[in-house]
Symmetry: D2
Subunit: 119 residues, 4 copies
């Protein structure tokens, strides 16, 4: 989201700003509402997978993948919009979180165990 | 972050691949499971806002913003991981979706109305 | 869900069992999948409210309330179905949780504060 | 629980009313906020299952089932609270929805297919 990133998330952010401004939708885009919309879109993405087996989810038909891709886009767009409103650098936040998780789940103890997730 | 990865997402993708490989967690990361994890993280983000007014959500205290930023990071990380598994270019998908939405919600009819969302 | 409850949740449970059996859908109804479906329906319910103000959410138009009521029904039906699969007595569980919450959030300290939710 | 409250939900509703009144929490319980809280609890329930296989989800250890039961209780409690605020009869709504679904998914065409869910 800097000058070195003219065509990535910063561009998306700008396009979403324009989109909302053109429609006078900024009034609806409080962080609270955007967080709701993001959760709703994440659930719509989950809906595409809910009755599939894990193996089926690894082998989506092209038409299904197209729909999944659109839901993923919705999630990213609301996330970028929320980050804009809260002045959060998403990629830096994600990098920081990976570092925190590396401490929280040391390789030795976490290896091959889903346990760490549960608690 | 290079000219071929202007958004920094490819770098995140690689870090997340390494993170999972180091812990032998790839076995848990079916698209179905990643979509669940993404929805769960989106809900954890929403939880930070659920009892706030919209105005309060626009004025988070620094400590609260730090937590919100971490939840946003979790959402992005699972989204990037899912995109990796499904070979989806997130930024391209998001751009395409903005174009689709521009057709779905023409400026003239959508202006200032939350209606378009409802249906 | 006992003999003293012939027309409430136990009846729903039985109707849902029959519905699934008639369609051979039991194969899809693992607790994992039902929990996903429940989360998806809860998000569809949330979607009806996401762009409303709190006041608007207290004054739904009749047509909108009808849709909200249907989404609430979907949530209850998946919850009852999951409870059936896990042999959980929902009403007893809910009563127990209210008692736990009464300890967790004593009247004196929780009074009028949304804080307790946050942490 | 009387003959006029066969499901026990009216008793839950009354207990939840008292719980909120004692803590002066009614101010936070707009339908919009309750729908968010419900979605968050449904996601916490899903979190217990997200890394499990479907078979593992059918065979929860007792300690895990206890936690799942608590999350199910949270979902029901917020659902009952929302129904109270919107004056919705949950069991009647659920029955009506089963009838609608019976029309939407006729036995002949829906038999054994997860397709009907997808669209």
């Amino acid at each position: 989201m800097t000058a070195t990133d003219p065509s990535g998330l910063a561009q998306l952010r700008d396009a979403l700003r324009q989109f909302a401004a053109d429609r006078d939708w900024d009034q609806f885009h409080s962080p609270k509402n955007l967080a709701s919309a993001l959760a709703v879109e994440a659930a719509e993405l989950l809906e595409r997978f809910q009755w599939l087996t894990e193996d089926q989810s690894r082998n989506l038909a092209p038409a299904e993948l197209t729909k999944v891709r659109e839901e993923m886009a919705d999630v990213l767009n609301y996330l970028v919009r929320l980050a804009d409103k809260l002045d959060v650098d998403l990629v830096a936040a994600a990098r920081d979180k990976i570092e925190l998780n590396a401490i929280k789940y040391p390789v030795e103890t976490a290896r091959g165990s889903a346990r760490k997730y549960g608690e």
